[in-house]
Symmetry: C2
Subunit: 184 residues, 2 copies
DNA sequence: TTAAAACATGTAATTAATAACATGTATAAA
DNA sequence: TTTATACATGTTATTAATTACATGTTTTAA
């Protein structure tokens, strides 16, 4: 397979925390969970049907306004059990993300290659923005440091920030090693 | 699409460095390039045909022993141009790898959750191994630090090592924050 | 009041990637 | 000499994911 259908467990996890509609699940990927996973609604709605057929979810219908119907999904007992099985199963660690930029560098052999500087600079700007964004996220969501009641979320935000900090430092150091060095 | 067919450029990059057979390309993913990308031969052989049809590759046939035939692929002029186009094009930066373990943490809210310690410990062991492996790689391949003639490769190995170092530090800090703390 | 933006839910077409199926040759070690 | 391992190249089936297609409602702001 292309992947091991991890999306099903994300959905299961989200609706276990609180029952949600397909639309709300889609929105979750624009916020929190989007920091480290992505999914479109065209993947979510079919998956909800599959999970309900599996008996891991049920839905109730709600009317908004005159006739707009939405389905709110909740995890069943077996769905919660499946979530726990996944959480406690061994996670194959990632060997190194598929980072297109890093891959490109592999094919640039010469330290004096003129393409290096613009490539590194563009990436640095982006990762500095993301680093700053994550710092704000962390300061907003966890102003008092680790939250014992949302510990996992705190941990992964910290991790994401550290990664971006490393990325920026690495790119800065690489730029400094270019011909002309730090005066460039 | 599931991805933007980056594999074609990896193949293009590898055969530009030196002409290679499908088998050799497959092996490349077990070594160097496997540190940050993966591909199976079942993906590589069809891709070679596609790239040749595009006019980006040509192949010559070689006989080993009595009759074992292998095809050695090289980049054409237009293939090299396509490679350069890709290298110089803007790379959409990765927002955060799809790390299944990190994702699981998101669904563990309680700092006292008994599942945390074994999860974090298992990951720590793995990432320490990988960190040590990368240290050896770097010491073996670049015993004198940055190599001006294989600069990109040096950079990405350094980056990979820093990432693993961060991963280990993060996991250790997380374990230390668990109830019982460092005496656990 | 009207138009834009957000809410809401689907399906279809395409592609990349993995796992499994399939076959055969050459070499090195027991 | 025989057997295991490495060399060598393909195809098929399946799945996950993205993009685009498709439709309609509700709310908010101009």
């Amino acid at each position: 397979m292309a992947q091991r259908n991890i999306l099903q467990f994300i959905i299961l996890g989200l609706v276990t925390d609180q029952p949600r509609t397909g639309y709300e699940l889609t929105k979750a990927f624009d916020n929190d969970i989007g920091e480290f996973w992505s999914a479109q609604h065209s993947q979510i709605y079919p998956q909800l049907k599959t999970l309900e057929a599996k008996g891991w979810l049920t839905h109730t219908e709600e009317i908004t306004g005159e006739k707009l119907n939405r389905k709110r999904y909740a995890a069943t007992k077996s769905g919660k059990a499946a979530l726990n099985d996944w959480l406690t199963a061994a996670s194959e660690p990632v060997s190194g993300a598929k980072d297109e930029f890093v891959l490109k560098l592999y094919f640039i052999h010469d330290q004096t290659d003129a393409r290096l500087k613009p490539m590194l600079t563009t990436q640095l700007i982006w990762h500095e923005q993301r680093r700053d964004h994550l710092r704000k996220q962390l300061a907003t969501k966890f102003p008092n440091g680790a939250d014992a009641l949302d510990f996992g979320h705190f941990l992964i935000l910290e991790h994401a920030l550290h990664r971006e900090e490393e990325y920026c430092q690495w790119l800065q150091a690489a730029l400094a090693q270019l011909p002309g060095g730090m005066t460039n």
